[in-house]
Amino acid sequence: MDHRRDYDACRQGFTWESVERELGYEPGGPLNIGWHCSDRICRLGLAAKPALLWEDHRGERRTYTFDDLRLLSNTLAAWLQDRGLGAGERICLFMDRVPELYLGFLGVLKMGGIVQPLFSAFGEDSLWTRLDNAGTAAIITQKKHVKKVRRLRERLPDLRLVIVVDAAEDEVQPGEAALALEALPRREDFTVAATTAETPSVLHYTSGTTGQPKGAQHVHYSLIAQYITAKWVLDLRSDDIYWCNADPGWVTGTSYGIIGPWANGVTQAVLDAGFNSEKWYEFIERQRITVWYSAPTAIRLLMRDGADLVRARDLSCLRHLCSVGEPLNAEAVVWSQEAFGKPFHDTYWQTETGCMVITNWPGMKVKPGSMGKPFPGITASVVDPVTGEPLPQGRVGLIALKPGWPSQIRGYWKNPAGYASKFVGGWYICGDRASIDSDGYYWFVGRDDDVINTGGHLVGPFEIESALLEHAAVAESAAVAKPDPVNMEVVKAFVTLKPGYPASDDLELEIMNFIRKKLSPLAMPQEIEFVAELPKTRSGKIVRRVLRAREFNEPVGDLSTLMND
């Protein structure tokens, strides 16, 4: 069946078991993502095929074959075991997009560890929260980030080893180790850990409305979904050169920046550099990128820089474009059709789903602004938020999925109640509102909670508000989304001040930088409004929705329960 031709037929005949057979997986037998992304591809005769075309902003370039992935991940896995790290232990990857990040991901999985990728721009508080919650045993990082880790070390009793990939032996401190991976003798033979389908694999932290970020626990069986969605939605073929913009600190960067393409034996290019539209187009032209998985924020920045930059390059290599992270606005879809001759295909999913669940399908008509249709094997609906009952076509409700797809998370780390709260009436509730049109296309309406989606990344208000309260001047705080033409939303904070602290531009800037350093640049409020009081219920709970509604010029809803409107 050519998936590019007939979505409905593909959906009708689809089974996850057919994908298991394609991958050579026997139910109940061994299953290891690291092995499938390297060793298995070598066994298919592709050992010499380039797997990773890596370069950085300085122009340094390296190429790794699938055999390089196999050998170097073996080497790292053995190195970790030799230092007493074992199966089930959480090993954090806290690096920029350097080769060791990708090799480390595979290596940790091969030795049976639980890999915990974290965004390298996280500040100390954000880093500590996630490492402490996970009881992380080891962290693999770089010299530029290790100082942050050192300052936290005393407050992380479970952290036994800090590994620095670009440090010399005399640059590390007690409790640390320098790891020059490519200088080590390569391990030809390594006994991959006896992981199975339900063995925990990846721990991704994700933000919610309440509380601190939660560790979304994936298992090795997620490979089944990540493999086939990459193959069919990204339309990955054996001769493709694929580029995923996402950082592996986030789920897109692992599901489709590592697992999806490499399980399919596809070459991918990685650019370890910040955004620059001219450099991005040069990279696409030179590497002859055929499939590009990007994000709406980046696409809007490309739009702003104009189509002339596109026309200045030969980008005829591009065959298929996809987008992820936040709803792709119709204008961006139309622009990409004009600029690249083909539209970006929006794909909808989240950390908890582990794979794309509602997507625009190659060859299917793209309705600009629509998320597309459920992937085969995914039963999706739009349901009533209270009862969980599916709603009629055209009605706005909560996007819901029938549990049981392969990459569904198995829980939140040490938070069973939080996980249980995600299910209503037998459905997994994604937390987003949408409607379905008469053709079965899904249309995103908005979040159902207070989570802020900025630049395609979810940021939880509680984490920000807690950090704000640690500033000497802040008495009370609320963090909400504010609309932004490039990032869709950015964080805006409302703050009441303690006596003796007058509001000022300088104080606003001071608090902004305070949050940026404690949490992350994403969590930094891009605006702080000093107010006399915050809207609260009679029980004293801050009502964020009122503040948010005002920012979005939406009706504020029922104010009868407020104490102070």
Binding site: D56, H57, R58, D96, A121, K144, K147, K148, D272, A273, G274, F275, N276, S277, E278, K279, L301, R304, D305, T454, G455, P485, V486, D505, D506, E508, L509, M512, N513, R516, P521, L522, M524, Q526
Partner: protein, 84 residues
Amino acid sequence: MDELRKAILDYVIHEYLEDGDADDVTTTTQLISGGIVDSFSMVSLKRFLEKKYQISIPDRDASPEAFDTVESIAALVERFRKGN
């Protein structure tokens, strides 16, 4: 180095870099495309410059490219100081 470039460089070093990481940063170092500073962080620099030099930089001009080096940031500030 003129006062404007020094003010920008000092802010970048003080606010965005760890102690000891500033030695190699010059006015032409690629800050955003070089992965040293991300574009979200630049919002605070924009705010600092607007306040210090009493200018207003439209969001459409505050691009990652415009904020990529101390030199390009200085050029942006000078443009708006002249009222362009």
